[in-house]
């Protein structure tokens, strides 16, 4: 049996969904943009009738109809066209956290603005680690500037990050767009990679995170992107992020209910625009820290929220996503390890299809590539745990658990010599990388995990091979980025300055 974990009783899931459907009618959902209002009105939904307030009241039958048209599972494909991520059932995959603005400098232990070279290094390490089924557009490239001088990330930043990732990786990508204008270029980029928009729709390489704003608000760019993705048939991952006590009810059950309402509303918009388009019941729910006003990603209650939200999605038969394996610590220390390992384990047991967050420090404000390789160890252990205790060895000798092996060894204790041992130990045991210290004490002083992780990162980067993309694809990539940079520069009235990578 596959070990699991459940936080919600069937009865409680029923109550959560009943109240979530109630919320969709009262107070309703705020929808930002005119096309969304139009789409809803054409489906017979009243938007802002009483007061012209942009609030839509979504009737349960319509939402249920949209739920019914959402696919129960789908795949993401790698560049070779192989199925690499299965969104559905209890399959579990991990990807690094997304869109960090700072990078932990392993030398000074200070957080500094992240740059293209950091994103490349993260992609290289992620590419070599089997624990990560997908890449993410992990960090903001502060050196890629469109706008007035060294500005905060601009609209083209999302496209540029995807451009960097696609050049350096064959794996599927979890990405997202922070502006309505940026999405089109990103889909063009993916279509250029796949060969055509039609091929991209058939064998999607990427999934896009799309976020409602708590509580119950589908802002202009969020809902825009949802509609555009649905129409393009590119998978959308709805990442609702209620903060329990801050932007959502303080009770975990109350926040799970709000999360359900926000995702249900998103699925309704998405499926109305593109029935049958792939969509994920995702989230990054967290508690609200009553001292700092922040979102503690390493808190056990945050993990509980992620698990419970995914449980509701599973109950509805939808693919799921959560945000775990992150920490609130600013250093790669014991707190970082404990929080990340705990939530990786819980997420794997819960059977969440895609778990984002590895590598993240400081409540998602800072990325550490050293933490990423350490997190890979927790993930591998969690994956091992989720496989459970299996009965095996039939193919080697008989169908017994122990007696057949004892028949060979008697009381000699010589199990190390058995064929079974050699044949099966790799399946039975996860063999950690040197990041995990199990060695006997030697003459050299023991090293700590951060030191070992630094060495490991260097080793992985040295084994990494950049994929060789056809010249014409690269030219298409560059043309799309140049086109979007020119558009953006036009909007900002300045020249674009993108580093080559």
């Amino acid at each position: 049996m596959r070990p699991g974990i459940q936080l919600l009783s069937p009865d409680l899931i029923g109550r959560i969904l009943r109240e979530a459907f109630e919320l969709l009618m009262k107070p309703g959902v705020r929808v930002g943009s005119a096309p969304v209002v139009e789409l809803l009105r054409s489906a017979g939904v009243e938007v802002g009738v009483a007061a012209n307030d942009g609030v839509a009241r979504l009737p349960a039958p319509l939402v249920r109809q949209c739920l019914a048209s959402a696919p129960r599972d789908f795949y993401l494909y790698n560049r070779q066209g192989e199925k690499a991520v299965h969104y559905g059932g209890d399959d579990v995959h991990f990807d690094p956290g997304s869109c960090c603005v700072q990078m932990l400098d392993p030398e000074t232990l200070e957080a500094r603005p992240s740059e293209t070279r950091d994103l490349v290094r993260i992609v290289q390490v992620t590419e070599t680690l089997p624990q990560f089924a997908a890449q993410s557009t992990a960090v903001v490239c502060n050196d890629a500037v469109v706008g007035s001088g060294k500005d905060a990330p601009s609209a083209i930043g999302d496209l540029y990050r995807l451009f960097v990732v696609l050049q350096h990786s064959d794996k599927p990508v979890v990405t997202g767009s922070f502006s309505a204008a940026g999405l089109e270029g990103m889909i063009d980029l993916l279509a250029a990679d796949s060969g055509s928009r039609e091929k991209l729709r058939r064998e999607p390489r990427a999934v896009f995170d799309v976020c409602p704003s708590p509580p119950l608000n589908w802002s202009e760019f969020g809902s825009h992107n949802l509609l555009d993705l649905a129409r393009a048939g590119v998978p959308a991952e709805i990442v609702a992020m209620p903060l329990a006590g801050g932007t959502a009810p303080v009770t975990l059950a109350g926040s799970v209910t709000q999360h359900a309402a926000e995702v249900l509303a998103g699925i309704a918009l998405h499926q109305l625009a593109g029935p049958g388009s792939p969509v994920v019941w995702g989230g990054a729910p967290a508690i609200f820290d009553m001292r700092t006003g922040g979102a503690p990603m390493g808190a056990v209650e945050t993990a509980m929220l992620n698990l419970a939200c995914a449980e509701v999605g599973k109950h509805l038969g939808l693919p799921t996503h959560g945000y775990l394996v992150a920490t609130d610590s600013k250093l790669v220390d014991a707190q970082a390890g404990a929080e990340s390992a705990r939530s990786a384990t819980l997420g794997a047991l819960a059977g969440i299809n895609m778990i984002s967050g590895a590598g993240m420090l400081e409540s998602l404000a800072c990325f550490s590539v050293e933490k990423l390789v350490i997190d890979a160890e927790w993930i591998a252990s969690a994956q091992r745990l989720a496989r459970g205790i299996e009965v095996r060895g039939e193919d080697v000798r008989g169908e017994t658990l122990a007696t057949a092996m004892f028949a060979q060894t008697g009381l000699s204790g010589e199990f190390l010599k058995l064929k079974e041992t050699r044949a099966l130990f790799r399946q039975e045991q996860y063999l950690p990388s040197p990041v995990i210290d199990r060695s006997a004490r030697g003459s050299a002083p023991p090293s700590d995990v951060f030191t070992r992780a630094r060495t490991r990162v260097d080793e992985l980067v040295s084994t990494y091979r950049k994929p060789s993309l056809p010249e014409d694809v690269l030219r298409k990539f560059q043309a799309i980025v140049d086109r979007e940079a020119a558009r953006e520069a036009d909007r900002a009235g300045v020249a674009a300055d993108l580093p080559s990578n």
Binding site: Q102, V140, K150, S179, S213, N217, S219, M290, G293, A365
Partner: protein
């Protein structure tokens, strides 16, 4: 401070009890207590205590908000009498607040508004997704001392810079101080865009605002 009425006022704020604060404010007026004294010696002492307790981790954000609500309730009762006596509680300063263009996340901004307002600042809250032009117009209109811009998203942080540039363009700085805050904001970013200050949370924002006001006043005296 030893006056039991002032003690009870202080306690009503610490308890976050608006009904009790209202009742005590009414009692003060009925007994002919100077409303300004009721504020300064009673209610405001409660806010100070709550702020200190929050600072050292003994009180939490919901407690602090409740205290601020109680303070508002008391001021609402006392204000007309203060106006009548011409003893309007002098505002510590005028603060224009809003979130940066494109950013609709306003928890942090609202906390700052609540804490500053409870502590005696006059707040002009422009709400969410405010353009630099709107900040400038309001700052001019109310003759603001401080403009505070909040941004949660890394993508909207650029809006903070835009506001500071707009304040500069319109010649409002250095008289008007620009402060910023938000989850992704760092002191480094604040320095980079030339903000006059940055704080990590609402209580620090109060300290920051007070410091900026006292600096401005010192400067004013020196110039005079």
């Amino acid at each position: 401070m030893s006056d039991p009425l002032f003690q009870a006022m202080r306690q009503s704020i610490i308890d976050g009890a608006p009904d009790m604060a209202t009742e005590l404010a009414q009692q003060a007026l009925a007994n002919g207590v100077d409303p300004l004294e009721a504020v300064n010696q009673g209610f405001a002492a409660g806010i100070k205590f709550a702020g200190d307790q929050f600072g050292c981790g003994e009180m939490f954000l919901p407690d602090l908000l409740a205290s601020a609500e109680a303070m508002k309730a008391a001021i609402k009762i006392l204000e007309p009498e203060m106006l009548k006596r011409g003893s309007q509680r002098e505002a510590l300063g005028k603060v224009v607040l809003g979130t940066a263009r494109g950013d609709i996340h306003d928890i942090g901004k609202n906390l700052v508004a609540t804490v500053l307002s409870a502590s005696g600042f006059q707040i002009f809250d422009l709400g969410t997704s405010v353009t630099p032009e709107q900040f400038v117009a309001k700052a001019k209109e109310v003759d603001a001392d401080i403009v505070g811009v909040s941004a949660l998203l890394t993508t909207t942080m650029a809006g903070q810079k835009a506001v500071i540039e707009a304040l500069d363009r319109n010649g409002l700085r250095p008289r008007v101080k620009a402060i910023i805050g938000g989850a992704a904001v760092t002191s480094k970013w604040a320095a980079e865009i030339g903000a006059d200050g940055y704080s990590r949370n609402a209580i620090d924002a109060l300290e920051l605002a007070k410091n900026l006001m006292s600096k401005a006043m010192n400067k004013g005296t020196a110039l005079a």
